[in-house]
C-alpha cells in the first residue's frame, strides 16, 4: 500500500503545476472519485433551456448518475434516453434511430417543446458521428431548434471540456438579433441568479440596468430569447468562459470576468470591472463599511478557528482561503484539483502569508490514506473539505445558491456561525445535492 499522501505545499504550488496545465492532481496516478466531488453535471445544465427536452444518445452506463441527480431535482420530465447497443456502436445504427425517437417523444408530450438538446458522449466523439448534421435534419423535419450537448469527460483536460461546452450549448439557442440592444445584463456561468437580497441587484438597477437575466429565472423560450438582446454579460463562474466568449463573437455581447469573491477588495474589484463594462459609475462603496462591521462581529463570535477549504464550494478556493487567512483563521488544508486563473494571484499571496497551507488533490488515490488519518478541523467549507475532514462542521456553500457581492460575504460568515448552532448531516446533504462528476 502507499505510505504517503500526495500533497503540495502552497509555496510550491504554482511551480509544481505550471508544466502540467495547472492540474494539481498527479499525472502518474489513477484517479480517485470521492462521493464529494462533482457539480451539476451535463444533464442538469442541459435541462436549463426553457421549454426544452433533452435526448441523450448513450450507452446506458453513461447516463445513470445524471439521470438520478435529475430525478432528485425534478428535471426528469424533460429528459429522455436512447440507449446504444453494441451493434449500434459497430453499425452506427443509433444515428438512424434518433429520428424515430424524437418523433415518439414529441408525440408523447402534451405541449410541443421549443428546443431539443441532443446529447452524445465520448463514444460518438470517437466514432466521429455527425451530430451537427443530424441536428439540422431534425430541425427541418420537426420544426424545433436543436443544438448539440456533449457529455464527453475524456475531453476534460482539453480546451473544450464538457463542463464549459455544455454552458455554451445552453446559450447556443439565442438568436442573433439586429443591433437594437436593451439595457439588460445577463449572468453567465452560474446555475442560479443572484440571491434576491444581494446588493448588486439594487446597484445595477440604480445605474439604469432594466433587468438582470439568468437562464434559470426565464420560464419560457421567448423570455429566454431576451438574453440575446442584452447589452452585457457578467461571467461569474469560470465554467461560463467559453459561453461568454462565444456570445461576444456571435451575439456581440461584451462581458466582464467577475468571479464570485468573498474578500471585500475582491468584491470591489469586480464592481470596478462592471463599471468599466457598463461605462457608468456604480454606487457600491457605501456597502463596504456596513459589510465590514457585520463580518467583524461574526468573525469575533467565531474565534480563531481552523478551517479547511474545498473546491466544491461556490467560490474560487484560494481566494476564499485568502479571505479566511486575512481574517486570522487558520487554514491548514485546501482541496483542489486544478489551479484556476482567477486564483493565481491569491496563491501568490498565500505563499507569502500562509506558507503552512498544504494543498491536496481529491483525485489522488492517496486520499484514501487521508481518510484513514481522520484529520479534523473546526470547520470545513465545501462538501469535499467536509468529507475528507470527517467530523468537522461543514458549510457546503453549494452551487444551488448563488452568493455574490457584499451580501455573499456576509452570508458566508452567517453560515459559518449557523453550522455550529444547527449542525447538518453531511452525508444526507451531500447526496441530496446530487453532485455528478
Amino acid at each position: 500500500m502507499r505510505q504517503k499522501i500526495f500533497s503540495i505545499p502552497i509555496t510550491y504550488l504554482k511551480k509544481e503545476v505550471k508544466n502540467r496545465g495547472n492540474k494539481i492532481y498527479p499525472e502518474d496516478a489513477l484517479h480517485y472519485c470521492s462521493p464529494s466531488v462533482g457539480g451539476w453535471g451535463v444533464v442538469r445544465v442541459a435541462c436549463l433551456v426553457p421549454e426544452s427536452v433533452v435526448l441523450f444518445v448513450i450507452p446506458q452506463g453513461c447516463g445513470r448518475h445524471g439521470a438520478i441527480a435529475s430525478m432528485m431535482h425534478n428535471y426528469d420530465k424533460q429528459l429522455f434516453y436512447l440507449y446504444m447497443s453494441q451493434v449500434d456502436i459497430v453499425t452506427g445504427e443509433h444515428m438512424n434511430k434518433i429520428d424515430k425517437a424524437v418523433e415518439l417523444i414529441l408525440s408523447k408530450l402534451e405541449k410541443k417543446p421549443k428546443a431539443l438538446v441532443l446529447c452524445c458522449t465520448c463514444t460518438d466523439d470517437l466514432l466521429g458521428s455527425d451530430y451537427e448534421g443530424k441536428a439540422r435534419l431534425l430541425e427541418e423535419k420537426f420544426d424545433i431548434d436543436v443544438r448539440i450537448g456533449r457529455m464527453n469527460p475524456i475531453r476534460k483536460e482539453s480546451k473544450r471540456p464538457p463542463e464549459l461546452m455544455i454552458q455554451k450549448t445552453i446559450y447556443d439557442y439565442l438568436e442573433a438579433v439586429s443591433n437594437e440592444k436593451k439595457d439588460t445584463i445577463n449572468i453567465v456561468g452560474s446555475f442560479k441568479g443572484f440571491t434576491p437580497k444581494c446588493e448588486i441587484n439594487t446597484i445595477l438597477r440604480q445605474a439604469g440596468i432594466e433587468e438582470i437575466l439568468h437562464i434559470r429565472n426565464l420560464k419560457t423560450y421567448e423570455e429566454y430569447q431576451k438574453m440575446s438582446r442584452s447589452k452585457y454579460n457578467l461571467l461569474i463562474k469560470p465554467s461560463g468562459k467559453i459561453a461568454t466568449k462565444e456570445m461576444k463573437r456571435r451575439l456581440k455581447i461584451p462581458f466582464a470576468d467577475v468571479p464570485v469573491a468573498y474578500r471585500i477588495d475582491g468584491i470591489e474589484e469586480n464592481y470596478r470591472k462592471i463599471e468599466q463594462l457598463l461605462g457608468r459609475t456604480l454606487e457600491y462603496k457605501k456597502y463596504r463599511r456596513a459589510t465590514e462591521e457585520v463580518i467583524q462581529d461574526k468573525v469575533k463570535a467565531l474565534g480563531r478557528l481552523s478551517v479547511a477549504v474545498g473546491s466544491t464550494a461556490n467560490a474560487c478556493p484560494f481566494e476564499l482561503a485568502r479571505e479566511l487567512v486575512e481574517r486570522d483563521f487558520y487554514v491548514p488544508y485546501v482541496f483542489a484539483d486544478q489551479l484556476l486563473p482567477c486564483d493565481e494571484v491569491h496563491v501568490d499571496w498565500l505563499k507569502e502569508n500562509a506558507p503552512y497551507i498544504t494543498v491536496y488533490s481529491t483525485m489522488s488515490p492517496t486520499m484514501t490514506l487521508f481518510l484513514q488519518e481522520k484529520k479534523k478541523v473546526d470547520l470545513a467549507i465545501g462538501f469535499d473539505a467536509g468529507y475528507f475532514c470527517s467530523g468537522s462542521k461543514t458549510v457546503p456553500l453549494s452551487l444551488d445558491e448563488q452568493l455574490y457581492g457584499y451580501e455573499g460575504a456576509k452570508i458566508l460568515y452567517s453560515r459559518m456561525i449557523e453550522v455550529f448552532e444547527k449542525p447538518q448531516d453531511l452525508k444526507k446533504e451531500m447526496y441530496q445535492s446530487g453532485m455528478v462528476i
Binding site: 496516478a29 489513477l30 484517479h31 452506463g61 448518475h65 470517437l126 457529455m151
Partner: protein, 383 residues
Amino acid sequence: MKGLYSVLPPFAPDYSGVSSVFFELGGVMVINGADGCTGNVTGYDEPRFYSSTACVYSSGLRELNAVTGDESFIVERLKNEKGKFIALASTPTPAVIGMDQRAIAQKISTELGVPVYHFDTTGTYTYEKGASEAFARIAENMLIDMDEKIDNSVNLLGAIPLDYWNEVQIENIKEALIKRGIHINACWAMGSSLEEIRHSLKAQMNLVLSISALKAAKIMKEMYNISYVIGVPIGRGYSDVVADKIKQNLGSDMEKKEVIKKASNVKKMLIIGEQILANSIRKAVKLEYDIEDIKVASFFHMDKDLMESTDKFIDSEDSFEELLRKSDYDLIVGDPLFKIFLSPTEKKNYVELPHLAVSSRLYWDNYVCYTGEAGMEFLRSSL
C-alpha cells in the same frame, strides 16, 4: 420503441456489477474510462463507498490516450498501487476503440507481480452481467483447493448491494440458516474477507442468492463438485424449505411438512425485480397463502430454467407498460420508481421493494426487511 426510455433512469451498468463484487476484498478496482464512469459507481451504485477506504479508481482515460492507442498509461499509473489483486473493468470508450484489456492485464501482472483480473464490460449491459463474470472469476481463479470440509456448511453466493442487499439482510439470512442447523462458511461478497472466500471449498454446498452468482455456482459444481441450491430464505415457511433443500442435498431425510394455506383477497400478483429474490418471494407467498397467479418480471437477466411459463423478461419501457396494462394485478411488488407507470388506484396496491440497481440513492436508505424469518412481514398486510 426499444431502447428509448422516457421515465426510468439508466440502470446500473455492467462495470458497477464487477466493482460491487470486489469492493470488500482488498484489491484495487480500476474502472478503465473517464472519471464520469467511475463517478457512476462510487457515487450512485455503491452505498458502501461513503467514508470507506476501498481502492476503487478511474484509469483517468483521456482523449489523447484513446486517439493514439496509448495503453501503457494504465500500467504506469498502477505502479504505485499494491493490493491483493487488481480488477480491471472496461467502460464504453475502451470498448469502442478496441483496447486490449487482456494484454494490459498481462502486462500489469508481469510488471507488478500481482494477479490481475480483466473484464470486457462495455457499459451497454446491466450490472448483473458484470457481477456474474466477477463471481465466475472468483470461482475459477481464486479458490484454494482443500480436503477439509465443514459439516452442514454452505457458502452464500451473490450478495451485493446492487441486488438489494445490505449487512442486515445478510445477517437475517445467516440467522435463519444457522437456526436450522446450517453453518455459514463464506459470503460472496459481503462480510467475508478475501481469505475467507478463498477457503470456500471448505463448504459442502452453495446457496445462490441472486442470478449474478448462478454462473459461479455452476462453475464450482463443474470444477469442485459442490452442489448448489437456489433461493433466499424469506419467512419461516420458505426458510424451512431452503434449509431442507440444503440438508437433502447433504443426504439428510426430511420430513414433509403440511402447511395450511391462508385465504387472501389477492388473486393476481406481480413481482418485479431480480429473478431469484422475486422467485423466492413468490414461493414464500404461495407456501402461506392461497394465491396461484403470481408472475415474476425483470428488466435484468432471467434464467430460462428458473422462469415459470407466465414470467416475463422486460426489454423496454413499452413492454413494461404493456405488461402492467394486460392484467389487473391485485398486488404489485417492486422498486418504488416503477410506480410512476401506475394510476393512483393501482398505486394503492403496490408494495415497495427498493432495488438499488434501478433507483440508486433515491431509495437506498429506505430499509425494507425482506430476508430471514421476518422477511414476509413487509408484504403480509397487503396479502
